[in-house]
Each structure stands twice: as C-alpha cells, then as structure tokens.
Amino acid sequence: MKIHEYQAKQIMSDHGVPIPKGRVVSTPEEARQVAQELGVPVVVKAQIHAGGRGKGGGIKLADTPAQAEEAAKQIIGMRLVTHQTGPEGRIVKKVLVEEQVQAERELYLGIVVDSGSGRPVVMASEAGGVDIEQVAAKSPEKIHKAFVDPTVGFQPYEGRQLAFATNLGGDLLRPAVGLMSGLYKAFAAKDSSLAEINPLVVTSDGRLLALDAKMNFDDNALFRHPDIADLRDRDEEDPLEVQAQELGINNYVKLTGNIGCVVNGAGLAMSTMDAIKLAGGDPANFLDIGTVNDVGRVVNSFKILIADPDVKAILINIFGGMARVDVIAQGVVDAHKEMEIKVPVVVRLAGTNVEDGERILSEANLPLIRAIGLGEAAQKAVEAAA
C-alpha cells in the first residue's frame, strides 16, 4: 500500500527523522495561512501517489503568503500528469506547504526488504535527488549497502559505515546515524516494504533533513497496523480496481488491451496474458480469481470485465488444484443467467473435478467457445476479439 509524502514524513518524524517544517492543506487560503505562520519562503507540493511531480507543474516555490495562495490555487484541483501516473493523471486534492530549504548536498537513503539476501537492506548514496534505479544501473558502486540481521536490528556501526562512505563525517556523523536508525525503526515498526528519503539534504546551515519521503507498506501486514490501513486513499486507485476489491476480487490489475481474463493463480494468470500476446492479442487485465471455491466470485469477475468498455472478448482459463473446476463452471453458467454478456467467451478448463465442470457447461448449452490447451485458448480469444 502506498501513502502520501506528508504522511510518510509524519511517520518518519515520529521515529526521530528530521523533516522540514510544514503542513498539509486542501485550500489556497490555508496555504496562505501556513506560509504566514512559517514566516519564510515556502514550497507548495502536490500530494499524489506518484513521482515526477515537479516536472508536471505540481511543485511551486513561493516567497510570500500571497504567492503561496496563488500556487496552491493553481495546483489544487489540477490534473497532474507525470511519468508515473499514466496519461490520465491524478486530480490533486491536497498540497504540502513547507519551508524552503537551501540544500548544499543531496543524498539518497532507502530501506527495502531484499529478496536476494532475505534481509532488510539499508542503502545510502551521495548521488541523491535523481532516480536511484538509474544510479543502480549505471554506477552501482555509488550505492553503499548494509544488510541488516533482523534478529539484532540496525546497529550504530552500520550507520557509521554508511555515513563515512557518503561523506557524512564530522559534525554530521551523529545526526546521520541517528537519522538512519530512526528510519530503520519506522521501517521495522510499521512493516514497511519501502522507506525512502530522496533527497536527504545537508542544508547550508549544516542540518540533515528529509526533503522528500516515500513509504510503502506490506499489504499482508496491514492487519496489525490499523493506523496505516486508515491512510489508504482510494482516490489514487483505478476505479475498476476499487470496484473489483469491493466485489472480493483482490488481484485485479487493469491493463490496456481488449481481452478480459479470468484465471486461477497469479503465475497462470500472467502466463495467460503472455500467451495472448504471443497469439497477437493484448490482455485487458490481470485477474487472479484465487483458490476460494465460491460461485459468486466467478459471477463478480464477469461483472468487472463487463464493466470495462475495452473488453471485446473474455478468456476463462482455470487449472483446478485447490480451486474446483465444477464450481468455476457453475459460476460461468450463473453469470450468463444474471447478466447480458455481449462479448464472446472462451473457456478452457483442466484439473480438479474437470469432468463435472464439462458436464455443467454442456448441459447449460451456452454460446461458449471451447479450448483444451492454453495455447489454443489464447489463439481463440484473440480471434474472437478481432
């Protein structure tokens, strides 16, 4: 799960990470007030769940409260398009008004769970302020790492190593180690999957500050962090995906093609998309129906695909293991009873209880296109959508 910059900064601050003074607001008048209170030049930053906000016009500098109000007026309500939002962009609802900071140096600090080592890894680099992925690809030697033993947690010596490696010695050493320890505490305490400060700045008056902040959270751990779950902003999500979740389909991702897919299992769902592409078509979505044996869930999957105007054909691909094929087949039949399905439907069934499933489909006598193998199913779906 993602949260906004201002929320990430609050959590980091709660764990001892220094952040610029500022406040989030949702009207231009409030922006003026905050600028007045701060009494210094400010920066007005659009709050959306995507990077690249500056280039899209979502970050503006203001020297006076009147300018802050004007900047907020321009940003709030705008449709902000960045390289991460897609062409449809996001409507900005809130802005963060913060003190302007004179940065002497811009560094990077981030923590993720590293699947290779099976450990949290704290990464620090002097090449901050830019896309860290590009730094990692072009000059990996500029990124310094500490692989943390989870049984003892992040240790001060690891902080010192990273600080010295990134030229944060002298007077900055102690605050740097404190800041890293604080970030690690926030990461561990809240089951974060990514905690990132980019840039981490050294100001002209010698302070370390988290100028921009990002935190993502492990969806699987939200059950023990109701405070984090409450920060969820559904306005930042695709409406079709939100509708899918409300219908009990948690693993639905809207894509750009025209063949709607219903599959059991994430790997098979991705492979079905791949097979469609190889057959010359384009998937409209990823949809893993999961392993719960529930006829209603199949019907709801149809509801979601029917609601998507891009869908020109539907491909059902089920290899039953825990999921039973007869339940899926009954769902296909019920869906045809409950709603008018105008697009062609290709069905491929295999695995647990496949004979019962086949019988249910043939007795229902529906206008389905049938396939036995995965390749054949993809081919037929592509032809049907054409």
Binding site: P150, T151, A221, N264, A266, G267, M270, G321
Partner: protein
C-alpha cells in the same frame, strides 16, 4: 530418487483440524503419504479421521511419532510461530502453504532457520510432491507421474500446467517444488536447482520463474557456474506493466532487472533453454531430452 520428500517421509500436519488442513490431509493420505501426526493446540488427544493422532505441540508429535516433515496450514498471522515451533522441535523439512504472511515475519524466520540447515519450502506455495511416493501439499495429484525431470516454480497453478504438459508426453517427474510467490521464501529456486543437481535420479529440470525479485538471476549464476544438468526455463509476466503487483507479493517489476526480458536473457546467457510460450514447455522439454539422449 527425489528431493525433500519421499516414501520415508513421516508427515506431521500443523493445523490438521482446520477446514483446508483436514481436506488436504485426507488427500495426502489417499495419495499414500505417511501422515503420522497432526498438531492443533488444545485438541491434543483427539484422533483425526480415526487414523491420525492429534497433539498439542509439535515437540510432542515428534517425540511420540518420529515425524520428520511438517506441512503447515495455520492462518497467516500465526504462521511464523508455527514454522519456528516445527524448527525447534527438530523437523528438518518444513512446508508452509499459507498465503499472506507478512514479509518481515519471513525475514525473521528465514534468518533463524538458515544457519541451522533447516529446509523450509514456501510460504504461499502448493507444496512439494514426489510422484508415487509422497504428496506434501495441495496439488491435484492425478496430473503428476513418476519419472526423472525435476520441476521448480514460483507459481502454484503453473506447476500443474507444466506438469500436465509433461505427463501428457509421458515425461515423468522426480520431484516438483512449488517455491512460493512471496518475495521472501524459505527455499529459493536456486536452492531447489542445487538439490536437483545433486539428486542422482533427476536428469533435467524445468524452472518456472516470474517477474520481480532476483530468483532468476541467482539461478542463472548457478546454471552458468555449477549446474551439470539441462535446465528448461520459462519466465511468466512478459506482458506485465512495471510497478504493479501481479497477484504474488513478489511479482512486481521494480527496476530493469525485474522484467521477464532481463530474466530470460540472464538465463539464456547462462545456458538454460528458454521457452517463450507457456503452452510450449512440455514440447520443448521433450525435444531437449530427446536431443540429449535422456528419454
């Protein structure tokens, strides 16, 4: 003639009295797996289906029945605890089916088990099956057939798809390992490859990877430097967009190394045989085995 589980497996099922645990235990027994015990705290003294004794703790189950493998069905919030309990009781092979375990729980578990040499498979996986000997998991048994090709996959249902394609062509399997779809798993695909490489009765391995993480790159390094047996590889998710989680917690492209293309290239350079279409995995394996005189 297999890895991880075989006819000498003495299985304890943690969560045996639950709905899914009970259902799958019956199927394991039906398949011929030697299920010697179940564990549900507070239900000790009961007998599951009038066949399998239920204990309060894994330690008791091990002491009384000599269980040497555990299959775990407990809910996600309690899974780390269940795995650690099995490990401490001296179980050397632990298979965890549960989906939705917090990643940081698995970080703790993995770092605790590894130095002790305890082998955990999963979580969020279909388990392990050695056809004809032991089913320790939830897979539909009838698509599997005994033979000499090892299968390791990050995805569960793709195991079924691949194995069905193999069995259709008369190609049996030594052992099939569902490594699991989470970002932190107990046995990574490269660790499964190592086990298959050392198994005298496995002649080739089908590896099914997917986008996200570094499993495929780790496997590629091992294939290039050490692996002696042919590896046929498919990587799911060529059409997946970056930055979106595709069902599995680990299946998200973050950076260039996470794409299917980068993974296929790494595996191809290492000498693995790459299959582009998921529908061609069986046919390609058959061709490779024939070419190398392994059929």
């Amino acid at each position: 003639m297999s890895i991880l589980v075989d006819k000498n497996t003495r299985l304890v099922v943690q969560g045996i009295t639950g709905r899914e645990g009970g259902f799958q235990t019956r199927r394991c027994i039906q398949y011929g797996t030697n299920v010697v015990a179940g564990v549900t705290p507070g239900r000790g003294g009961e007998t599951f289906d009038e066949k399998v004794p239920v204990f309060n703790t894994v330690q008791e189950a091990v002491d009384k029945t000599g269980a040497n493998c555990s299959l775990i069905f407990v809910p996600a919030a309690f899974s780390a605890d269940a795995i650690l309990e099995a490990a401490t009781a001296g179980i050397p092979v632990i298979v965890c089916i549960t989906e939705g375990i917090p990643a940081q729980d698995m970080v703790t578990v993995r770092n605790y088990l590894q130095p002790q040499g305890i082998r955990m498979v999963g979580p969020n996986c279909p388990g392990v099956i050695t056809p004809g000997q032991a089913r320790v998991g939830i897979m539909p048994a009838d698509v599997f057939s005994p033979g000499r090709v090892g299968v390791v996959s990050r995805s569960g249902t793709l195991v079924y798809e691949v194995v069905a394609q193999l069995s259709e062509r008369g190609i049996g399997q030594s052992t099939c390992v569902g490594a699991g779809g989470d970002s932190i798993v107990g046995t990574t695909p490269v660790e499964a490859l190592r086990l298959f490489d050392a198994d005298p009765d496995t002649v080739a391995v089908v590896f099914v990877g997917e986008i996200g993480g570094v499993s495929e790159q780790q496997a590629a390094d091992y294939i290039a430097t050490t692996m002696t047996k042919p590896v046929i590889a498919f990587v799911a998710g060529s059409t997946a967009p970056p930055g979106r989680r595709m069902g599995h917690a680990g299946a998200i492209i973050a950076g260039a190394s996470g794409t299917a293309q980068a993974k296929k290239e790494a595996l191809a350079t290492a000498g693995a045989i790459i299959v582009d279409s998921p529908a061609d995995i069986g046919a390609t394996t058959e061709r490779v085995l024939k070419e190398r005189g392994l059929l």
